[in-house]
């Protein structure tokens, strides 16, 4: 048997008020020397998780007010001791409130960050996603090829078995439709969710992804150079989506460098503000570089140079960047590798 949440909450609040009243009565009736008001901090400790920040502060103020009122109403004792004790109680109440609120906020932030990481992990692990898409598309293709072979064999018989051949053709058609439905599904996947835009600090978002990828970078013995300008004004975009793009570009760079020449394992990341309207993220690698053909098709869906890749990462990245009002691009760089960049618009009115 569990009470509904709102009843339990109400009951706790009633209990809290009763305890506060009891403290008030005790504080007023006892001498100045007995600092019962310190126990208000217990009420605050118990109540903070039930209240909003504003309500918690109001509660703390109420406790302080009650302490002051009891101080004036207390009939007996040394006035000076009472003053000091009330002061101590007020400080205890304030500090307790501040510390509990801070802990609560830290917990909430940790929770948010975890949820965000989960969302990022889902899309940055494009490897797993692409493998399953490849499998999905390959099944009907395999069936089509095999049915085609069977159809040929039915027709090659003497006399040709038309009925069986036609059945095989029917299967080929329906499997072809199935394959194209899967591709449609993938396409709608790459269109992705509508960006949930908010103002955020791009350099900070970049740092988080870099920290997440530290292990991978070290495992490949890559030297990572970062030129992240922290003084940049905030941008307006979907923070998680932009981090997905950064994560994808960083993973690509790591893979490119890992398969490139061993003596040049460098990746360079920078953020800058080339114009007054957007912030630019740039990642340069000393990896295997880009062919002319790759440059033409880089952002096309299902175009890939990676063995086992399916060619969706950059295509999804482009969709995301453009949906967030930015631009994406790539070019070969002086060290023989590739440079990828994208821009994100600044918060309107914040442009320098």
């Amino acid at each position: 048997m569990r009470m509904p949440l709102q009843y339990r909450r109400m009951l706790s609040l009633v209990g809290m008020v009763l305890v506060m009243a009891a403290i008030f009565v005790a504080d007023t009736l006892t001498e100045y020397a007995v600092a019962v008001a310190v126990f208000y901090s217990v009420v605050i400790l118990a109540a903070v998780s039930l209240l909003t920040v504003r309500a918690a502060i109001a509660l703390a103020c109420a406790c302080i007010a009650l302490t002051v009122v009891s101080f004036y109403l207390t009939p007996a004792g040394l006035y000076k001791v009472g003053l000091v004790n009330s002061g101590i109680s007020i400080v205890a109440i304030s500090i307790t409130t501040w510390l509990t609120l801070k802990t609560e906020a830290a917990q909430a932030a940790a929770h948010d960050a975890q949820a965000r990481l989960l969302r990022i992990a889902r899309v940055t692990s494009l490897g797993g996603l692409t493998a399953s898409i490849a499998h999905e598309v390959n099944q009907p293709l395999a069936a089509i090829v095999t049915s085609g072979n069977a159809c040929q064999r039915w027709l090659a018989q003497d006399p040709p078995n038309m009925e069986k051949a036609l059945q095989a053709l029917d299967r080929i058609l329906s499997d072809a439709h199935r394959a194209s439905e899967i591709i449609d599904r993938v396409r709608s996947l790459t269109k992705g969710e509508k960006p949930r835009k908010s103002a955020f600090d791009l350099p900070q978002a970049v740092r988080e992804i870099v920290d997440m990828s530290r292990g991978e970078i070290e495992r490949h013995g890559i030297a990572l150079e970062t030129h992240i300008d922290d003084a940049l004004p905030p941008v307006m975009a979907d923070r998680v989506q932009i981090q997905q793009v950064i994560g994808n570009m960083l993973l690509n760079a790591i893979e490119a460098v890992a398969s490139g020449p061993a003596h040049r394992k460098d990746i360079r990341i920078s953020t800058s503000m080339p114009d007054g309207a957007s912030v630019l993220f740039c990642i340069e690698d000393a990896g295997c570089g880009l062919s002319a053909e790759a440059l033409d098709h880089l952002f096309d869906a299902f175009w890939t140079t990676k063995e086992g890749g399916i060619g969706l990462g950059l295509s999804i990245s482009r969709t995301i960047v453009e949906a967030n009002g930015g631009k994406i691009g790539a070019e070969p760089n002086a060290s023989g590798g590739a440079t990828f960049r994208f821009s994100v618009p600044l918060v309107k009115g914040k442009s320098a």
Partner: protein
Amino acid sequence: MNRDMDRATPPIVYVIDDDHSVRAALDDLFASVGLQVRSFGSAREFLAHPPDDAPGCLVLDIRMPGQSGLDFHRQMGDLGIRLPTVFITGHGDIAMSVEAMKNGAIEFLTKPFRDQDLLDAIQHGIEKDRARRASEAVVSELQLRWASLSAGEQEVTRLVIQGLLNKQIAASLNLSEITVKVRRGQAMRKMQAASLIELVRLIEKAGV
């Protein structure tokens, strides 16, 4: 001996693949070359229908929900299923194929495959299964022959193949030499051995 009879027994191809399109296509491909097929959506479904007493070959998909084809193949020996296996997979890597071949697979084909490659592999598998069945049939036939010997005949035969002379056998079993000769003759006849050397060979093969 039923070796020639087995040659006439129509072989059966078993297919385990979770994708119904692939199953339907394979069924039809095998039918178009006159092979009998039984197809199943999972290893569990396959196990619910014990294979026929006929030469066969198994076409096994690697990537399936639940138990993977590789895992199932490893288990088959323990389950007493000795069907030669051809693996098919949508997304195979070298490590996977090495493991499959190490476990005794006939072939490892990546989808989509050439139909002739698959049919050749299956033909090879069926031949292998026929050979296994034939040699198993020979062994069980020899065991039957051995079982038809009386206890006394078996006793004498064991000493004969150790190279003992009739006289020595008679002495060690406390029998007359005539009795040993008679039992020895019966054993040769029942085992259908034309010579002492053949008798030794047949008994070795029967593993008794």
